[in-house]
Symmetry: C3
Subunit: 315 residues, 3 copies
């Protein structure tokens, strides 16, 4: 959205270049505020509900810390397992319509693809999609994009995606967002994966429609040539139908010091985390390893989103 | 209580007409404050413990949001399953005596009937009963009553209870509270249910002793004639001893547009929620459907209770 | 530490007599503040993460209440069972490195002995050890020690430990801390247990190396002669290899009114809680029963630790 105020955020498709520029500015202000003062009081007396029907540490915690640092408060609903609403067979719509009576905005993660956009139809408070199955996770794509611009201080020219590009929700969202933020630009997106984990055609289509070039690779070193950004993702066992399929590709890419020696000296490495083995811990000390800065940015970007949506972009 | 300050709230039997009047006034003030400012700081530096040994979304969240909106904070203890105290076989009394060392007031839900009144004997901080088994749930009855007066702007004359009146803790508490708030009045309570789910004699006795009239119905349309309030409850499968018993009555009442066409044009529909099928979602758009307003009132009434009990009825 | 600011707290070995004195002073100030005002705002805009991979009610709640009463906020991560990080096989180091991006300090409990000191090596924010397996639980030892000095208003001469001295992490930490706080003093530590639950030699060694006397007892009444402090611990069934071993000692010591009649008139009784049967509830009314005061002190001591570590020992 250009004007974020009062809006729900369900998909990266809503993000305009202007809206993103505003978000970058406010996110950087948030970082300054946190580093100098810890936070401010602009969201005093505002209450956020963080409602998670699926496990999450990073997303829920960063939203909660974001709200706290702006002087607001949050209530958390763990919708997994034992929760009251689930046990009593209440519809998701009803649960959210009840909770919105108490709060000013809602962060919602749900395992069912499409569930969050559907819920938004019946609510009156802004709902921020924190992941709906293999659907969208727009705040992740926004913090990824913010980190790219923040690290480069310029438009990216070549961005490499590495790993499981078939199942990776974050890759899909980020590739779409980058294409639509800089349509008809010189941006090149490179997709590097084993064949059985290659990027879906729908994403390539999306790039093409936005006039953004893409290239397909299997070799990580080649893919990284002249690149400014390497975006690594985890190959998740649970996404494979057979043990064999997983075994055939697991560990196919490992970003370690040996690889880092062969790639551009200023190529930034990102990862949505958690990682398992796809980035060796020895890389953490490399100044190009930006994934923990990316993690920190997650809080600043979510502070900015909350401030914008709740109409408090100025303190 | 007339004077709420420092008092525990374990039963609707404690509520006097004067005490209720005060609660209504403060609850309406709370609504004004939330709508204009989001909240205030009257409970700054106060800490509430919300301790739930049974699943709850609405009750715990509304207390937590209520505390937050008054500038206070809360700590939450999930007493189900994995909790430390339960594992270590600590008595409920000891657990509560420990937690009260840290906080200014306690909200407690426990599956065992009578557990909350028992705990109150050994605590020094105010304890608010958020449900003790099939015992009491006084803050629910108070928010229901508040909603009745707030919607009608007058004393109710005819209130209809519909659904499972045998097991429904909220029905029992509300029927008792209404009788004792307007004893010897022209109030008529109508209890409409299948025979096997009829209202216990003890509740009818309570009405009679307070000089309040009651009537028994099986037909919903007839029960609603000239009524101002229809209070609907869910028929909960888990309360039945056999599948057959449940099957014989499930879906016996459905409040839908067809029924709404036959009842008084200004008859308000309430429900403690969650609902399953007993109110069709098509009714939600009817201005007489007040159950989401009732939900919202839950926060205002709990803000008022917390403010009164903690001695901060003025900001 | 003497200077607490910015420091992690992983072991009682870090505590100097000067550092402890400072903690006592600040803890007493915290009690005054809570009793008069409920709290203050010195930790405004600071965020604490409480991360528990093992069940805890008292420790997590008292840290959360402590943070709240100083105007700060907390986010809670339940690392048991269903948590996101555990499911995704992220290393503990990575999880903590992510969470520290959002917060100013971390409270961490983990079942693996040595895990917390290990994590501290890779973090940049202060980490407070809230228990690492059978390793350390330093804030418990600090609140126990604070209570001893606060109750006696003087150095203790004779302290008796009673119960399971073999497995009791709190006993080990407290015995070590007392020895090192008053080395070469007239302090006598008495260890009273069944033989199969006797205090490990390493602890006795620690006492000896600090020039502190110790004595071994099996009879509780004899152990308490001329004592000022009786520190009771629970005999935990889950620590025994066989049912028989547990049965042979369970209930071997019960502190009841009969025992209290035979011990010094001013001997203070402490217990880390929860208790099961080892202290009869009839003792609670005895003015020498200090375990609920000890519980309350837990919050003041943790407020002091948070204030010191976050550099806000003055308001």
């Amino acid at each position: 959205p250009v004007s974020w105020k009062g809006q729900s955020l369900v998909s990266v498709a809503q993000i305009t270049p202007k809206g993103f520029e505003l978000l970058v500015t406010i996110s950087q202000q948030m970082r300054d505020i946190v580093r100098s003062e810890g936070g401010d009081d602009r969201l005093k007396h505002k209450v956020l509900a963080t409602i998670f029907y699926e496990a999450s540490t990073r997303t829920s915690c960063s939203f909660q810390a974001a709200m706290s640092r702006l002087g607001g408060t949050f209530i958390h609903v763990d919708g997994q397992g034992n929760s009251s609403a689930a046990k009593k067979k209440e519809s998701l719509e009803d649960t959210i319509k009840c909770l919105e009576c108490y709060v000013d905005a809602i962060v919602l993660r749900h395992p069912e693809t499409g569930s969050v956009p559907k819920v938004v139809l019946s609510t009156t408070k802004p709902v921020l999609n924190a992941g709906d199955g293999i659907g969208e996770h727009p705040t992740q794509a926004l913090l990824d994009s913010f980190t790219i611009w923040d690290e480069l201080k310029d438009d990216p020219k070549i961005v490499v995606f590495l790993g499981d590009l078939k199942h990776g929700r974050t890759v899909h969202s980020l590739a779409k967002l980058l294409s639509q933020l800089r349509p008809q630009s010189k941006l090149i997106l490179r997709f590097c994966s084993p064949q059985i984990l290659s990027i879906p055609d729908s994403i390539l289509e999306y790039c093409k429609n936005n006039g953004v070039q893409y290239e397909i690779f299997e070799d990580a070193t080649k893919a990284c040539q002249d690149a400014q950004i390497l975006y690594v993702t985890r190959i998740q066992k649970e996404r494979f139908e057979t043990e064999e399929a997983y075994e055939s590709v697991k560990g196919c890419y490992v970003v370690d010091n040996a690889l880092m020696d062969k790639v551009p000296k200023n190529m930034i490495v990102l990862h949505p985390l958690p990682r398992v083995d796809e980035i060796a811990t020895e890389v953490d000390a490399d100044p190009r390893a930006a994934y923990f800065r990316q993690m920190e940015n997650g809080m600043y970007v979510r502070m900015a989103i909350l401030a914008l949506v709740l109409g408090k972009s100025s303190p």
